[in-house]
Symmetry: C2
Amino acid sequence: MAKDIIKQSYLSSDIPRVVLDRLPIYLRILSQLQQEEIKITSSKELSLYMPVESSQIRKDLTSLGINGINGKGYNVKVLKKSLQKLLGLDASWNAVLIGGSTLGRSAMEFMRQKRSQTYRIVAAFDPNLRMIGKKISNLKIQDIKDLQRTIKTRNIKIGIIATPNNITQFVADTLIGNDLFYIINFSSFTPKIPDYVIVKNLDPGLEIESMTYHLRQRRLSKVTS
Amino acid sequence: MAKDIIKQSYLSSDIPRVVLDRLPIYLRILSQLQQEEIKITSSKELSLYMPVESSQIRKDLTSLGINGINGKGYNVKVLKKSLQKLLGLDASWNAVLIGGSTLGRSAMEFMRQKRSQTYRIVAAFDPNLRMIGKKISNLKIQDIKDLQRTIKTRNIKIGIIATPNNITQFVADTLIGNDLFYIINFSSFTPKIPDYVIVKNLDPGLEIESMTYHLRQRRLSKVTS
DNA sequence: TAGATTGTTAATCGATTAACAATC
DNA sequence: TAGATTGTTAATCGATTAACAATC
């Protein structure tokens, strides 16, 4: 029932995925420009920092209802604010970490470095009973039985999986069963999920493995040339 | 001169980026199937684990010269081997880490978790002279002056940036200047790079920030429905 | 005004999907 | 053989780019 409503609203979100994925990149670039005290930028300048034509950037922005100053460009501050609001970055979202062993700890540590205002890890759990009570960063690892209650009381919307690959599916199912439909997955297992759930797999290995293809190519071409 | 050759060979690598990015995902799924002792799979089965139609998968594979058993499917072991070889995962690539403070440490720790056979971090540097000599994991942080020599002697092909945002560009330029054209960037700054360089920006923030859009959408739709 | 840049359309490009004969 | 799945083509879909009049 609740899922039906959500599914519907998800499908109705009208920004194409490719556009959506570019927006945080625009924001990064705008922040950089701000640090350089640049007040007005242009689609052309923005395009220097990413592999996208200026016309694409203009198109993205107009499609979102964001307009520049005709003949001038875009006000950096205004554009940044618009994008932040659109992406929901003016709010802060609570997240829960599942997995208190080394992967969990390093993932936590790594995310902490980024000091994002957008999300906060406010609770930690581990399916392994032996981990309960141990501390990870400043959080006490809780019994997974209390997951549902904690999600409610702490208004948690994002689940972070940092468990061994062999229980990733179980953990994902648990999160989804507890109405967490936004999942960040640090494990190397890609869980099967219903289509109203959004999972981001953050596995550096995935990136590096497509890199090595190019490495190999270049070596071959050097040898043969 | 050397750059010209490389540039050329990069452009001539004929696998489309979208296809290339799917290959490591196929490999993950194949490993999972192997763990379940499944010997023969099909494009249909593989498509269950990722948002791609079976015809796409067949097309990807034939385009790479990989053939299945007509009427039967694909031999899991054979397919895995073929993809690994194609991606250059039968080799091991040496990487250097730049940045020995907390971000560097947690990135290192995080990557260690993954125990990839594909790459190995064999040296660490920091532009900050005060960091020199400190240990990170089992590596001693070296003076960046020795970067060039170490790259040569240790046959390093991959550079990992884990420095504060404000020096990312400097570090990227340094790496490129030392003929490292494969860069993994853990900072939140997107450096400007020549087009023959491949940079993978691994910033969980990027992923999460496009997630919050959907979070916001659903909240709004719940309120209005 | 002259120069620069937006907003927008049309053309191009490439990726995905559906369908089915060929094959095991 | 019957059933299932590949390999491949054609159709569809969507994203990117180029071009330019309108605007500051």
